[in-house]
Point group: D2
């Protein structure tokens, strides 16, 4: 892949610190010389939507392109929960509960949160006792289950897990929606057994993230149920999410999907992360939760956590009672060889300095 | 300017049918090779904001970059109308009333609409009798006046008109907000006497449109009152308007404003429109309303209106009782010489065919 | 009827200045000695609902009891407009547009207002050109027409007028809802030809007002379409409109409807108003709009308008450009003989003083 | 007190199954013969508000009368949380979280819920770790802590506990609001040491419940901070909570507070509950949580729980893993001697049948 980060700084803060893969920008330049229909009703959006329908095995799905993740979640949940008394069930670590400034509540809907473990995952067993409580007009009506693939902790649901959730939701009159901000990374994970066709078949909606996977911006929302998708363009426009130059997002997805770049970028990011994990393990450090995609959560003593965060811009996920911190390292299609080497070396150096010994208490 | 439209089609539908000026795309390519802080807290956004503050003579203004016009209007009105019983006054032709799918009402606020004439403008005299009605807790409290510069009909407010509105609003406890989706075109209009510094001084907020003036997307919201701007980033995030790669919008404005391209593009579009108006008048056709910026509203007999719309993608603004139609022609920085020539010729041909004679009833 | 107003003051301000008809209060006292199921699921609410279904000829209608008019309008419109992009059409004088502090907008829905004449009425002819404008996702979707019977100006729709509206709405995919805050007065108007059965057949919903017709408080919402009424109790509870002691409202309607008091009270109020109108006409004054129910809008010179308002608590509807004021006089089941005599005498006195001559410009 | 429940049925379902204390209804009858200003701007509301201000030691407090508990909570939280990104902290058992059908979320605000133990109480220690998390624009801003006195489990906060919460809230820029649906019962609890003056001094708002304490309906909201109370009447009207005949609620509170009936009714209900608890304990049954007011939560084996619920209309609070159920018994000012005797006898009989032995596992 291209060498994205500049030499001055090696950032592992997230996967959206560089504009876009050059191939994508090249495509946008071409659009400066052709006239397109506005508001997403153009040939590129149509081509990209068709490609997505083909990949997902859902010839009749509604596909809409939006600018970012929070907007896409708000839009999808607005589409699923038409009635004001309907609610969405999510993990307490779910992005819509934690990091979207109450956008679901601003849209007038209740998010029913359920505590989850370090896997960040929901299951029918976890949902059932909560779901059963909602039985009268004094309470909201759960109508949707929201999960993320990969999760906020970088883990992925297996096909068996998603199948179980799908069956549970449908048996109980609920839809299943997958936040796919990092879906590409999940799809390309070595341990992954969930295909886009599986998502098309098992869920009622999901999105293919672009912002966190090498596009300039943009997400592709897929709704498989026409009832859910009814008047979707009205919902989009009303929420301020309709882009006048919607063809730009359509064209980026068209380019990325038809050339295969979309999947290559995610694979590259995952590989970068895997190499860093290798270095971390060699240095003797442990992980906070299972590593599967392009997000690593490493356990380091508090003082090292601060240094790691200061040096590489990393997000501190948790400060544990035992003094260790869980620090997040994220790779992307713009991660450079130099950056990987620099970070790996950092861990080795700390190991040599004897820090690991103390921290794991041996 | 660059030749934007392809040879297959001459579109005068709007000013957002091509991606962006190549110089802007060039800038975005550079961002692929440097790491930036996400969510708009980056060096480019800061530089662009400072440039805007300097141009507007408002060193302490809050500047925020958003993705599109509806989002910016919703955000600004959310910032001005913190209390649910507060309302915004606008022209009945105002974009927020007509073409944003009830986004203001979705945000829980009432838009008080006032009928206006073909100038599309509000004035203290027009507002006063409406404003006076709202006097008890059984009615909303008008707190903001919303106008557009240029207006939906391509006309511009003079400095005297904006000053009068400003004084009226402030005397009556209201703010004044200017929708600047086409502000660049207004600023570069030959008859314009309103500067950015005037807007900074006379209004409480406005935005510099990018989407309709050669940027890939993006608007720059300027709020001069710190009370209105309080916790603005929370409002942005909650509404799904915060872009992960906010630095892209910041960098586009930085490039366009520091190089002067922002103003050149608008001037070019205005000039293209002026040349078309000249051809229209030579051909003997009349205008529906005053021509001042990059939007032309021409009067043609109904059958010609349909042909004009079919051939050049033009929007039909009104079908008048006398059988004539008001058809909108919009130019942009991507309008080509060929397109201008083609459209001008169309009007001349129709004139030669004797159509004008009949239509103006002579 | 009982003599409601005290001797100290003759108020014609409205029809809700006294608590309730004694027969109603007697009924409430009985409820102190019996146990009832809360939240409106009691025997009295059931009996009242059944009586209403019988009177309206709608055996399957959903009937719900609420505390007041604004709440009932909000509830009904929430039930009709499930989707956020759906809108309600109303007269610009409509109560939901003018005197409910933007409650519809607070509920996230747009009210499309249409200017009406002094009859205060909508018709298919008036609605059609407005309705036709809403044709794309950039605009809301009109889904409901809201009218009041009697109107804000005391006038009533004829059966032919409601039939025309009903046909127009249903042909265009809209529902028809009737605000019946003063429905009893309309039903008992001498010129009325609209029965409850007509409303049950022609409209999709309406309410029988109690607050303005001798009950302590309370309205009875009738929804004839089960799709509109789906999960109504959830909508009621969520908006804070569910009364713990719902049986109180149910029992008041049960008492009023089964004894016929509901209709007698309205007839009495109408008769009182008719007698005052007679005095007004004898005195030579003119009316602002047609008199049909329990609301009179009399035209008086400005200085007399102020006196009338000060003396009898009357609401000033309009200050006309010719110097005359339209002042509202409202009667109720608590209007006394003394009050009628006092007010009638006031008009006669003014007539003798020669004021009328000047005012009608003869 | 008066004997409220009829002989056919002894209900312990709740404290709002009878209309109102006869003395209250007598007062309402008087209002049928006098004219009052509508919308709560009448002499009775003013007198009641003044009495409340005097009792609470808050001469400048804003007092508003509403129809029910959910409405009052929604109104208060709307007044405290003016900005859409502000949130309220509550116990996960809090009424606003559990039994108001997402009314807070419908109003666009997030309720941050914290798990609590069987006391149902929040404390600074419990709130602090949750509060600390909200530190950026990606999260809401906690602005209010909501508690109930008595709690959902019938327990009461001590003066020391409320003082600690008050200091914590104010130190952290939050308000403290007390849901007083059963405040009268809490005030009259033998163990209570919190006066109305304490609430006036320590909290930023609370309400005195009427619906659950012998009034026909109605609550009295007290807001001590004028900033919070700004434009309160607009908030009330917009939400559909303004009663046309507001004077009825004002007059009921006036009567109940000036005669002392308000406190006597609560004391009577508490005494009834205490006598039942005595019988329960004599019979050898245990309580689920501490008994302090007019709500009893008794532990019985599952099969007995069903019988208790069927016979006396009791609410089942919890079905515990050990097979026992926590069943709620509520008394009111309408609870009769016969009812107490009947229920007490029920427990004694079950004890004689040897059921208790098994259930407590001896």
């Amino acid at each position: 892949m291209y060498s994205g980060t500049n030499v001055d700084k090696f950032s592992f803060r997230n996967d959206y610190s560089e504009s876009a893969h050059p191939q994508i920008i090249e495509k946008i330049l071409k659009l400066a010389y052709e006239t397109n229909t506005p508001y997403g009703e153009d040939r590129h959006s149509e081509a990209a939507a068709n490609k997505i329908r083909e990949l997902c095995g859902t010839p009749d799905a509604t596909v809409a392109f939006t600018a970012g993740g929070t907007a896409t979640n708000v839009l999808a949940i607005s589409a699923f929960l038409r009635n004001s008394y309907e609610a969405v069930i999510c993990a307490d670590t779910g992005h819509i509960n934690v990091h979207e400034t109450g956008s679901i509540e601003y849209a007038g809907r209740k998010a029913i949160t359920i505590p989850v473990d370090a896997s960040g995952k929901l299951s029918p067993e976890i949902i059932e006792p909560v779901f059963r409580v909602f039985e009268s007009e004094h309470m909201v009506v759960p109508k949707l289950v929201y999960i993320s693939q990969s999760t906020e902790l970088g883990t992925i649901y297996s096909k068996a897990e998603i199948t179980a959730l799908s069956e549970y939701c449908h048996k109980n009159g609920m839809g299943l929606f997958v936040d796919g901000a990092r879906l590409a990374s999940a799809l390309m994970a070595p341990e992954n057994d969930v295909t886009l066709k599986d998502l098309g078949e098992l869920t009622d909606g999901f999105y293919l993230g672009g912002t966190k996977n090498g596009l300039l911006f943009g997400e592709a929302l897929v709704l498989t149920d026409p009832v859910v998708a009814d008047h979707l363009r009205w919902l989009i426009k009303q929420r301020g999410f309709m882009l006048a130059k919607g063809f730009v997002v359509g064209a980026m997805f068209e380019e990325a999907l038809e050339s295969g770049l979309y999947f290559e970028m995610a694979k590259y990011a995952n590989n970068c992360a895997a190499r860093i994990v290798e270095a971390i393990k060699q240095a003797g450090f442990e992980l906070y939760c299972e590593f599967q995609t392009n997000q690593i959560f490493v356990l380091v003593p508090g003082e090292l956590g601060q240094e790691l965060s200061d040096t590489y811009g990393c997000f501190i996920q948790a400060r544990l009672p035992d003094g260790n911190w869980a620090v997040r390292i994220v790779t992307s299609c713009a991660t450079t060889e130099d950056a990987i080497a620099d970070l790996s070396e950092w861990f080795i150096k700390k190991a040599c300095a004897g820090i690991v010994k103390n921290y794991i208490g041996k």
